[in-house]
Symmetry: D2
């Protein structure tokens, strides 16, 4: 259970890391949206590993195949099913170590929950590869968002303890060009160095990804329980490795005084806005028209090449593990398009709820 | 919309701060649970304002009235409807300032979303008072949790920048006795001082609440989307003023290396556990048997008695606001039982999903 | 579980026949709808038993009390909670016969499902009295439907085997004035006679209720699974005693040939319609612009005053039962406003989905 | 929207008649169920058209391809995605007549709802071919049901007005061997004759399918709204051509007296059952332990080869239509395995809710 998300733009994930494919079904995409494999591929390509950062040179193709829901290059209103066919996967390596629980991974919890019947190859359902499905859904959501004037940006703000300075929107919009997806190019360089150093040490790094939604109309969100914060957080926690989510001033706000944290309302050009944005664009679970600002903490990749102590679950004894196979020293850059995707999927869900996107696109 | 939460233990919130009542309907509570108003009242009483911390002496009664779902002192399997009748509410004060948007509050977003038809008195649906309903649901969840051996603790770990040192479980279980609900008594004293100082200054403070779930069996959680982190976070963000949620090492994990952050598996007395708990008891969205540890950042109370600049929405012009009426200088202590409640409701939902609670209690 | 219905206009039922109250929470009613107790009361009054048909003279007041969701006589966008307080209920009679399973009632299934903890007084949750909540929700839905130009009619077409002839809309709109709620006045007279005869015999009668939705725009319904037929049927089967639901020609269509049953499309005044309406206004699960026509089969009231053989569940032995207390010889007339209500609630849900009702009513 | 059904055994349909494939995703199938393509294929083969009844000789292969959710021949607890790849489809024929609304089909309603962007080839999403996905889901449900001891039977009881006499279970279990899937072999012969006659006349026939669930434990169903009747009906109305659903005595019950229709409880061998089964095994929306009996009215196939009057939607004028391409003179026999599938899917959903199927199958 738990493989479907959303109310108006409903996505259902399926597939495994080393099975036939990874896929997604979208139910609720309005008819009439021009959509071809090219649109999806552009976003999928952003998820490709950077050669320097990844510890493997295996080329992943990850070509999208739209199985249903389009006709004559447009969506039909029927469910969109899209898959990326798996290939190149060397599963043998997993057979040897299948009883050794990889620390920080879901090997143990999946084993317990599914009674040992789970597909353990490459993490199976718990592989970061599943997020290819999220990105395909996000690519469709991106096209719908474009109709509303809203824009979502996601970008790295911290890796290995190195924090980026605030930069302007133009710099953020250029992040695709740098390997760590950070708008502060000086910090980006240091981040890359830190990653290469960790790679050398057989270790890994985590970081923080920020996302921003621009041109949000006030009024999105359905409190008391379906708050914008709650649903964005839920969507982001679906990304493997995310362990914290905060909005606006977030945990820093906890240490401020009300007089410091309150965003004062002002009228500018007949429009109400706030002077500061400590609330991250959300008040009472509803967007207030200021940019939505959210940060997700990404833990360091649990797969490290260093030898680790762990448990052999079939022998129920302590053991040592050396993880082989491909893995990323730092998943943060690759998680950036995934954060984008989960934000886009969530915002589109609310935009449909608030009727900002037509039922049929003409 | 958005007033129902949960799949197996479904709660529906209704009521307003200055309307007739605040209430909750629970659908999915198994039949046969002994339940009387006394059980609920004990939890409701924990939500009462501390006299020193609140800026008002108005006594709230908050007596629960169970309207349906019990018979002969036991639940029947039918929906439980519980209300707290409002009384004592002086609504006149809100008439005078109804057009002045209180900074940090949902006045503006509610006005926009509901076209000005929202009940603005005391924040209406967006009042902290709505959480009385959460607490009533949490009290029922507490009784169900007791059947499973699980225990949930919630307690203050930071107020006004003052951080508590880690303390033992015994200290945490005693927090009801101190006004800031913090297990570290030295820190608690400083927190109280800080609150009284802020009160004097007409200002307010925020803080951080931690919750822990003990004796959790491995296997709770329904990934990919219905992760334990995602659903806990969604439940906590329903609490007004929560702006961040993190699990285990959380945002700190983002700065660690994999070799530091990975929790090594070990076999102890034929049971698999981990040496550390940076993951906060959750791997791949599923509980791993270690305590679940989560922290929620609570922003400082937006209601401060200091004069603030804001906007008069009917005149669409800038204005000054002095907030009158009751409000808490720091809601953190009162939010502690609310965090407990939302944790309990969420864990019970998963416990029912995993069949840890019988369908009928005998 | 199972006490919430709908996606956009979500209703949650609570309360018991002999508990404190019967109630309903509506989530999703747009803000700005003028709504007072008077609006609801008008529909509730239609559910009152006719003196001749009922076997009791006990006066039920059934006065609605709106607990939340309105302010200054208008809806606020917050959940509407409405209750009818119970009174006059003589529960003692049920104590004596509580172990005797009433044939045709849910006494046995409720006992099994809820382990004997269910409130058995007057059928508890399974009493027809629960439909007072449906009617309150339907009254709100009626007001929303009025905004769309759609009109729903529900009326008796068969009682005790006596079938009404087709009549015109004007006659149907006058049914409130006759005790069996049938537009064909000749048939209505015979129906009433049959009811009085059954009453004399200590027996009961069933019948068929038809509902029609006029001025439906084409395009309502969300196939493949959320078909208009499927959701209307689900809503109608929530009414105790309904055992069959058919659309248009329904079971008769099963015996026709395609050339007879197909409704031919024609263009009239630049509008596409069909010459006949065997499909009952629904094709492929979606409304086609013709009137939606549905019929619900209502079984005879299981409560009869004649002596019946049954089982004593505590003694697990055969027994005889003579049912005391109030009950209707034929519930069909009282079920007419309930069918209206469930139709209205379902159509409004789809009308909101298709954006035929504004988010805020101005 | 509307392409997902179920709460515990959740199915999501995708695909089109003349697109790449027809598919289904199942979320909620317990891990550990032995499952291969062979299991699914056996049920899919039952859906194949009978050569005599179909008006086309085109061979459909309909080979299932399991894309995800199994590993080493067993389910993993992850979503099962299964498809049937389309082939042989001659879409050209649809281009010529695409503007001519086929009476009784969803051409018009789909056009309106999806703004003309719908895939019209072969009915697209509204083709009976979509039910191949239902049958694949039903095949998985069948295997889960086998674990519970429950058995579902579906069979023809009426075609073209010819009604079958009641037969014994052994005869019903043999229906796969006769072309009309009817247990009463005499009636079956007449039904086949009627079909061949209709074929000769370029016409089509409808009928009635009955389903029975044997060995049902008392207690399935989640009233008030999620009644067994309501959810079974909703599932059956998802089958194209179903226009009526009734339980037990159904519409006949409407004409009976209470003393005739009430099923008397009796104790037999320390078990409570009823002497008759007019309620169709369901009381108060909950199974009572007697066989569940339900009938679905299937309208005659709207595709007939006779010339029909209709509308050309692009010219908005009246027109004549002669339908070409494959179609069944009577879909009733092919709908029998589909009724089975929708029953199985629904009963499994409730069986999981009532914990009759383990979370992991060992």
């Amino acid at each position: 259970m738990g493989n479907t998300l959303g109310k108006n733009f409903k996505i259902t994930s399926f597939g495994e890391s080393h099975g036939k494919c990874v896929g997604i079904v979208i139910d609720g995409c309005p008819a009439g949206l021009p959509l071809t494999e090219k649109d999806i591929q552009a976003d999928l390509d952003k998820r490709k590993p950077d050669r320097e950062i990844a510890s493997t040179k295996r080329a992943e193709e990850d070509k999208v195949d739209i199985l249903s829901g389009t006709f004559h290059g447009q969506t039909t209103g029927a469910p969109l099913c899209m898959v990326v066919w798996n290939s190149n996967a060397d599963s043998d390596v997993y057979e040897k170590t299948k009883d050794l629980l990889r620390p920080g991974h879901a090997d143990f919890t999946a084993f317990i929950k599914y009674g040992g019947f789970n597909d353990y190859r490459g993490g199976g359902r718990f592989s970061g590869r599943i997020t290819a499905g999220f990105v395909m859904a996000g690519a469709v959501a991106r096209k719908l968002l474009n109709l509303t004037g809203m824009e979502i940006l996601a970008y790295t703000v911290e890796i290995g303890g190195i924090k980026a300075e605030p930069v302007n929107l133009a710099d953020i919009r250029r992040i695709d060009k740098n390997p760590v997806k950070c708008g502060d190019l000086k910090a980006a360089e240091k981040m890359l160095d830190a990653i290469l150093q960790a790679k050398k040490e057989g270790d890994s790094l985590g970081g923080v990804i920020e996302a921003m939604v621009l041109n949000v109309p006030a009024g999105l969100g359905e409190p008391i329980f379906d708050t914008l914060e709650g649903d964005i957080a839920k969507a982001l926690f679906a990304i493997p490795a995310v362990k914290g989510v905060e909005f606006g001033a977030g945990f820093v706000a906890a240490g401020l005084k009300g007089s410091q944290n309150n965003d004062r309302f002002v009228v500018k050009r007949d429009k109400i806005s706030t002077e500061t944005n400590n609330s991250g664009g959300i008040l009472g679970g509803i967007s207030d028209g200021m940019p939505i600002v959210v940060r997700a903490a990404v833990k360091p990749t649990p797969s490290i090449s260093r030898k680790q102590n762990t448990v052999n679950i079939s022998k129920m004894g302590n053991a040592e593990l050396e993880i082989q196979g491909r893995h990323d020293v730092c998943v943060v850059p690759r998680a950036v398009p995934v954060v984008f995707a989960m934000m886009a999927v969530t915002i589109v869900d609310y935009a449909l709820q608030s009727r900002l996107i037509p039922e049929v696109i003409k």
